[in-house]
């Protein structure tokens, strides 16, 4: 289903036959003269007339009046898009998040690449997020969860020092909560490029493991740090633990596969990397390292076969460049 904007929908709908009065009403709606549109469309009792009257009501904030017509099941796809979008906006305005979400989920199934649908969905989640944040700040300001949430917000904003401070506050209040040490470790890695930060982060990942010895991701992070610190033996050990804790952890399988390639244990490397590529078929990292494992094992033909998969994965994401080039008026180079 190609993306269709509301303006295009309206233009399509208006192109169909209508009475002179109704047509004037549609025109008034299109130019944003809602008072005139309401007056003119109130005499049109066709499904289309009723729908546009409801769209007019919704556009002027009169959702209750518009609701019956907006919720009607229109056969026309464009009309359905417009009315359901309007209804979801009403539900968002009413803070009836679940109903808005249900409407938009259904719309996204039918119009998966429509920018208005995607925008409205993003807006819904933003509003819901803001509402939830406001509630937690109001009702439990001293909770460690407020510090945790603040830290996560700072992380998103790239303010890693502030994130680190908030994670530390959260940990002081609730030292046994899972995942806090892990998030603090990650924030420490993001905060500074200094080699010393590696050790500080490793301590946090180790602390996370004390709380949850089966945390494969923390083991993986420690392995990465040991690798950078020039301690491949310790890194390898941690990767084995990570894979043991979670045999379906693609990143850990890839890292372990790479370590095995370095040790020339190609049989086991191929086993690990094949599994990673199977678990995460879109992972260029898994497929690339599988290709190199076969190459280094002397199986160049097999490596070339895997390379074909990698070539496919490496093709630019569909539309990414071409759509941009269209916008700046230049065709992609052949």
């Amino acid at each position: 289903m190609p993306a269709t904007s509301p303006i295009a929908c309206i233009a399509l709908l208006l192109a169909t036959t209508a009475s002179a009065t109704a047509q004037s009403g549609f025109d008034a709606f299109q130019r944003g003269d809602y008072a005139a549109a309401k007056q003119l469309l109130s005499t049109d009792h066709s499904p289309r007339g009723r729908a546009f009257l409801a769209l007019t009501e919704a556009a002027t904030g009169r959702c209750p009046e518009a609701e019956p017509a907006l919720l009607a099941d229109y056969e026309d796809q464009n009309l359905r898009l417009l009315t359901t979008l309007a209804m979801s906006r009403c539900r968002i305005a009413q803070q009836r998040w679940a109903e808005a979400a249900a409407l938009l989920t259904k719309l996204e199934e039918e119009f998966p690449r429509n920018p208005d649908v995607l925008y409205e969905n993003a807006r819904l989640h933003l509003k819901a997020w803001n509402g939830a944040v406001e509630r937690i700040f109001e009702s439990a300001p001293a909770s460690f969860r407020v510090n945790q949430l603040s830290a996560e917000i700072f992380e998103i904003q790239g303010r890693y020092s502030e994130a680190v401070a908030e994670y530390r506050k959260a940990l002081a209040k609730s030292p046994a909560t899972l995942n806090l040490h892990y998030r603090l470790g990650r924030a420490l890695l993001m905060e500074s490029h200094a080699p010393e930060s590696l050790e500080a982060a490793r301590r946090e990942f180790e602390a996370e493991l004390e709380l949850n010895p089966y945390d494969a991701v923390a083991e993986y992070q420690i392995a990465q740090i040991f690798e950078v610190q020039g301690n491949p033996g310790a890194a390898r050990q941690r990767l084995e633990s990570a894979v043991s804790n979670d045999p379906n952890f693609p990143e850990a399988l890839v890292a372990l596969g790479r370590a095995l390639v370095a040790e020339k244990d190609y049989t086991r490397a191929v086993e690990m990397l094949s599994k990673a590529a199977e678990l995460a078929p879109q992972s260029e990292s898994a497929v690339y390292n599988l290709m190199l494992a076969y190459r280094n094992a002397g199986q160049r033909d097999r490596a070339l076969e895997i390379k074909k998969r990698l070539d496919e994965l490496q093709a630019s994401p569909d539309g990414e460049f071409s759509s941009f080039l269209e916008r700046i008026g230049e065709a992609p180079q052949q």
């Binding site: 950078v228 898994a286 280094n296 990698l310 630019s316 460049f321």
Partner: protein, 537 residues
């Protein structure tokens, strides 16, 4: 504990003290290159290169620096260690968005010529008897019919016919009219800051190969040679080398935000990009990094050339170890090069800073965006250089501040050329930074190790001997190097080869000339430059 102390002493001993002597020797002109506090266009971020060439054949190196818009490229003649600006009298005055430079004697007349790349028309400067240059791009078939964003370049003899051909990397398609401005779209931000747009989101362009047809000039063979494919890379730094040791020169091209290219010479006038399968396109985790500059050298003494590529901040610079057949294993972390991730790396080169017979590694840095200062992080626009000392066990040690004040100076560095400008046996570094006077880093080594410099001259092969391979044996140890076109970031280092010899007084040398001749030179004395001429047989 004792061992640890010993290791520390060794590193300290190796810590050649770097000093920036540019101001003392006359390299004082500021080279303009885009905005200094903010930039609007990507063209402001990529310039420019530097070169060491001996244009007047007086056996010392002259300095050439490429300028961005608002100034001219500059040639400085070396007069016994002091530099005199001779741009105008040499006929090299030229304005525009200059990018890269490469050098080679394309007409085999015994004088080194220059090629300078531009956003716009490139310039080929023919050296006229070592006194001045004539710009002959158009009459040589190198004029371009549209504006191109030419970046790295390298002379090479890809068809082994005895004259130098020319490779020119192209970054992307850019113009001031249609390119979006900072903040215009998601490709125009860095860490939530509106910055110049690109390279992602801007159209690719194709690389170029020009075949030298002697008196007929250069012929554009980009399409027929396969160089024009795949045209899905943002190409910057380029270096030549025979990675698979088949006697034909290949090319490595560092690419920004896209896989880097390894053009393997198919020995029939064509090239294929084999970087992916050969393991030199991506990093070990399969990511295409932001390749800028590139160096080639035998860091582990196994007789093959390895590759080193500089990348963006939050990425590691990448070391690719040659497995001996032109296949590579990424060995960055194993070689101790994985810790510095706050720098944006540009110019780079292998050099033996303490003449201990093991090649060390220098890289110069500087962020792309001046706006990065607003972020209050540990990433800055002007950044220090890094010197990695080769420990001899496959690992490097970052000398950090031990390497002296010259390397600690923060610059928005781009081009880097290596060469011993005062012939004192110590390789020096010429750095072209944005909107600054160049830096000339001298390394005062504490050691008394010996050295030798080899100036190769082709007779049947191209006169610059680009593509020649050299093995130097002294005291039971053999070192390998090759004469290379291009290299570093859009720069050209001295075409002479420098070898540290530790305490050896003499060396035996074997040269494999590009056209196939193998020649031995016995018992050459350490402590000077030797001219090795290809036998005409």
């Amino acid at each position: 504990m004792r061992r640890a102390l010993l290791a520390l002493c060794l590193v300290a001993t190796a810590a050649a003290q770097s000093v920036n002597v540019a101001g003392d020797v006359g390299l004082t002109d500021v080279i303009p290159n885009g905005g200094d506090h903010s930039k609007t266009w990507i063209i402001e971020t990529t310039g420019s290169g530097a070169a060491w060439i001996d244009y007047d054949n007086d056996d010392d190196l002259d300095a050439f620096l490429v300028s961005g818009e608002g100034g001219t490229n500059r040639l400085y003649r070396n007069d016994r260690g002091k530099f005199a600006e001779v741009t105008a009298q040499a006929g090299l005055g030229s304005e525009g968005w200059g990018q890269g430079v490469c050098a080679g004697d394309f007409d085999n007349d015994g004088y080194t010529d220059l090629f300078v790349t531009y956003w716009g028309q490139n310039r080929l400067y023919r050296n006229l008897d070592g006194e001045r240059f004539a710009e002959i791009a158009e009459s040589s078939g190198l004029a371009q019919i549209r504006v191109r964003y030419n970046t790295g370049c390298a002379f090479l003899d890809y068809d082994n016919d005895g004259d130098l051909d020319l490779f020119v990397a192209n970054y992307l398609k850019f113009d001031f009219e249609t390119t979006p401005r900072p903040g215009d779209n998601p490709y125009c931000y860095y860490r939530n800051l509106p910055t110049v747009c690109g390279p992602r989101g801007l159209p690719f362009d194709r690389n170029l190969l020009y075949r030298n047809d002697g008196d007929k000039g250069f012929a554009d063979v980009s399409e027929s040679s396969g160089i024009a494919a795949p045209a899905r890379n943002y190409a910057l730094g380029v270096i030549t080398g025979d990675w698979n040791d088949d006697g034909f020169t290949d090319l490595y091209v560092a690419c920004d935000r896209t896989p880097s290219i390894l053009y393997i010479n198919q020995r029939d006038g064509t090239f294929e990009d084999e970087a992916l399968l050969r393991g030199a396109a991506l990093d070990a985790s399969g990511e295409a990094l932001s390749g800028m500059g590139v160096a080639a050298g035998d860091y582990n003494g196994d007789g093959t050339a390895d590759l080193f590529r500089t990348n963006f901040s939050d990425e590691r610079s990448t070391l690719y170890r040659n497995r001996g057949d032109g296949d590579f294993d990424e060995s960055t972390v194993a070689a101790g090069l994985g810790k510095n991730t706050r720098y944006v790396g540009w110019g780079t080169g292998f050099l033996d800073i303490d003449n201990d017979g093991r090649t060390d590694l220098l890289l110069v840095n500087g962020h792309v965006f001046p706006e990065v200062e607003r972020l209050n992080t540990d990433i800055h626009y002007r950044q220090r250089a890094i010197l990695y000392h080769n420990q001899g066990d496959g690992e490097f040690a970052d000398l950090g501040d031990q390497a002296g004040p010259g390397l600690s100076e923060p610059h928005a560095a781009r081009g880097l050329a290596l060469g011993d400008y005062d012939n004192d046996g110590q390789v020096d570094a010429l750095v072209n930074s944005q909107n600054e006077a160049p830096a000339l880093l001298k390394f005062a080594a504490p050691s008394e190790n010996h050295w030798i410099s080899l100036h190769l001259e082709g007779v049947r092969s191209n006169r610059s001997a680009i593509g020649a391979k050299v093995w130097v044996t002294s005291a039971g140890r053999t070192q390998y190097a090759s004469v290379r076109g291009g290299g570093s970031y859009l720069s050209q280092s001295d075409l002479r080869l420098h070898f540290g010899l530790e305490k050896a007084d003499t060396v035996d040398v074997e040269v494999h000339w590009p056209r196939g001749l193998r020649q031995q030179f016995g018992q050459l004395d350490a402590g000077g430059t030797h001219r090795l001429v290809e036998s005409p047989r």
